[in-house]
């Protein structure tokens, strides 16, 4: 039985291919990729060497999870699929449960790593709000696994990549009408892609934020924050939130300023290669998860640090 990969996001689709190859290498199964009304994505996936199927049917409505899940269910049936890998971005996560229910499958979402042991795919994911990492496996024959973005690298284009095959799938008219669709205003910061992050929390005063931003700039990094800084104080936009309900980042360096270090936050930054914590409270948990920890008043040291780095 084959593995099917699908994400509406092209980069994520190529990451799924890498993950599928880890599984296929062990259990010796075929990988098939599916694209919905996206020829460019289909060509990119095929160029990475996976057998790619393209469904062209404008009745399939991306905004209607039931419509997409219906198309995937039918494709899975036609293509002899027992395992579906999805992206665990918002669309993918919403899709995962619906598709799993249609397929009578067990489902794991937000999976950030996997390995095959004795023919079973063991997945790791955060639980208890990020306090722990669980290793779980799906016991049912049919499986839907949604992989968190950036858990695997993108599969590269290979010489003589495959061809795209069209697949015909019927789809009913969707009951969901798209009234408007817009990109979020302003620059969307990609803090997940940054090598260096300067992360600020509620222990910082607003007037000092400019110094933190300056340090981020000097180091060619991005500024990021704990959730309250964006949602309560609105000093930064929500695309800069690190944590359970924000982004999970793995920078080379994270300089964390004025964050106490509750697990809902640390889960988003604990995979950083090097962590520097600066907080005036010596008992703040953040010091325990830092490689370099400094108990200091931000007001005092931010100007000094700026000067020393510049």
């Amino acid at each position: 039985m084959a593995i099917l990969i699908y994400s509406e996001n092209s980069g994520l689709g190529l990451e799924l291919l890498t993950a599928a190859r880890v599984i296929a290498a062990d259990i010796g199964t075929e990988i098939k990729a599916l694209c919905l009304n996206d020829e460019k994505q289909a060509e990119d996936l095929a160029a990475a060497g996976v057998k790619t199927y393209l469904i062209k049917n404008n009745a399939i409505n991306l905004a209607d999870t039931a419509s997409v899940a219906g198309a995937l269910e039918k494709a899975a049936g036609q293509l002899g699929v027992s395992m579906v890998l999805l992206g665990s971005n918002r669309r993918g996560k919403e899709l995962a449960g619906r598709l799993a229910q249609k397929l009578d499958a067990g489902c794991l979402t937000d999976v950030n790593g996997l390995q095959v042991i004795n023919g079973k795919v063991q997945c790791t994911r955060n639980t208890l709000g990020g306090a722990t990492i669980a290793t779980q496996q799906i016991e049912s024959e049919r499986q839907v696994i949604a992989l968190a973005p950036r858990s695997f690298g993108e599969a590269a284009t290979i010489q003589g990549g495959g061809i795209v095959q069209e697949l015909t799938i019927e789809s009913k008219a969707s009951p969901i009408k798209v009234i408007a669709s817009r990109n979020k205003a302003g620059d969307i910061a990609d803090i997940e892609a940054a090598d260096i992050l300067v992360v600020i929390g509620q222990g910082m005063e607003k007037e000092d934020m400019i110094l933190a931003e300056s340090i981020a700039k000097i180091l060619h990094g991005e500024i990021a924050c704990s959730k309250p800084v964006a949602t309560d104080k609105k000093w930064l936009t929500e695309d800069r939130i690190v944590g359970l309900s924000g982004k999970k980042c793995k920078p080379q360096l994270a300089i964390i300023m004025g964050v106490s270090g509750q697990v809902q936050f640390t889960v988003g930054i604990r995979d950083a290669h090097t962590i520097v914590a600066i907080n005036n409270d010596e008992n703040a948990y953040i010091h325990q998860m830092a490689d370099y920890s400094m108990v200091a008043d931000l007001k005092e040291i931010l100007p000094q640090l700026n000067k020393a780095l510049d």
Partner: protein
Amino acid sequence: MNIVVAVKQVPDLQQVRIRNRQPILEGVPLTLGRIDKNALEAGLQLKEANGSNLIVLCAGNEEVEETIKEALAAGADEAYLVLDNRLADMDGSLSASLLAAAIKKIDDVGLLLFGEGSGDNYSGQVSSRVAEILGYPQIGYASRIELEGKIARVTRTLEDSEEVLEVELPLVVGVLGDINEPRIPSVTQILKAGRKPKEIIELDDLDIDLSANKRIATLSNLAPKNERKRAAVKTVNDLVSALQAEGFAGRH
């Protein structure tokens, strides 16, 4: 019309301690999931605007009867509870089967609200599974919900875009954790909560096979290893030296 808000009872995560990388759950009080409270608040605001009846729905062990008081105090009109002590540790598939079976016992369901993910597991699959079982359309990651008669207008916020959608009820909506600020019930409301109607559904009344719904095996669940250097740095100069030694500062 009934608005149903499905909630999950979870351990109070602020009080979970880690010992030898093991989470200690004994003695940790149970509470409603953090984002479930946002779903409840969204339901309350719609109830107030449209005059609907608000039912809070939960499946779990006997302690749910106590935990649910918080939702009744906040303004839910009644509770539907599936109670059984075998329901302590359910996976998403079983939760969804139980909730959907309970919803079928409620008349005139217009809107079914969930949080985007539970407080403990954050898997986010239960709302989608329930929508599929009931055959309802669904909209997840909602940042705004308006009702006009039988039509819902919902904004779904994705990572870098948002879409405004219109659909006829009934509908399943999963709300974002920042859609609103949940209200805090007053002491009087808390005292009155115990007298609000509760419909207790026995597991045996629902035709659900517990073992057939067990699809996930948890092999281990441990706090991550902490392998940080934890070196104390006294001065800015020491910090800059450390950053240079790690190859960060001075490379621009």
